[in-house]
Amino acid sequence: MLGITVADSVLVGTLILAVLAAVQGKKDGAAAAKATPPAVSGAAELVEALEEVTEVLRGIRRALVEISERRR
């Protein structure tokens, strides 16, 4: 009928399934991208922690200097 063979139907059917799979994959990819929390950089966290430790050490140094000055 209309010169359409089963092979043509298989081809068109495959293409329809391909489009549906691509659309579904795109949708799920978008949803997963939104759901994923922002990536935490290990290096940035380390720098932050070092800054905090430096601040604490500075505080200790200031306190020690103050104590030693009072003793004089």
Binding site: A7, T14, L15, G25, D28, A30, A32
Partner: protein
């Protein structure tokens, strides 16, 4: 719909793409070897669609090679997933056609269904899963 989504999500994997791309290259290599590999009764229907050994080997070889390169450089080129989608779509079409033509050839000439039918059908289904995975990656990596 949810069942389909779950099925796609749990079964889609890049290893299917690798397997399919390598299967294309292996098939192309076998076809270009000396001798008429497609002389068997199962392949008789291929002639009606102008699919001879050389054409099929060229199509499978080129598509397979492009897909292997796309998978190899995966993540280092932003358009990689799009190339993977294209390769999988062509792959699904090729495997689907081979599955049907072998089924028809075997039925008409042997009166039985060839075991190849099942294998090529599964390869075509694998390509559909790969299209889902590649489309997922393309959208996910864009953020």
């Amino acid at each position: 719909m949810d069942t389909t989504r779950e099925l796609l999500r749990h079964n889609a994997d890049r290893s299917i793409e690798w397997f399919s791309a390598l299967a294309m290259l292996v098939l192309a290599t076998i076809l270009v070897m000396p001798g008429d590999t497609m002389a068997g009764p199962s392949f008789r229907e291929f002639d009606h669609y102008g699919l001879n050994e050389a054409r099929l080997a060229a199509a499978l070889g080129i598509v397979g090679a492009v897909r292997v390169v796309a998978l190899w450089i995966n993540g280092r080129w932003p358009r990689g997933p799009m190339l993977r989608i294209g390769g999988s779509v062509i792959g699904a079409m090729i495997w689907g056609q081979i599955a049907w033509l072998i089924t028809l050839g075997a039925l008409l000439n042997n009166g039985t269904i060839s075991t190849d039918t099942g294998i090529y059908t599964l390869l075509a289904i694998g390509e559909i899963l790969s299209i889902y995975k590649a489309a997922f990656d393309a959208r996910y990596e864009r953020g």
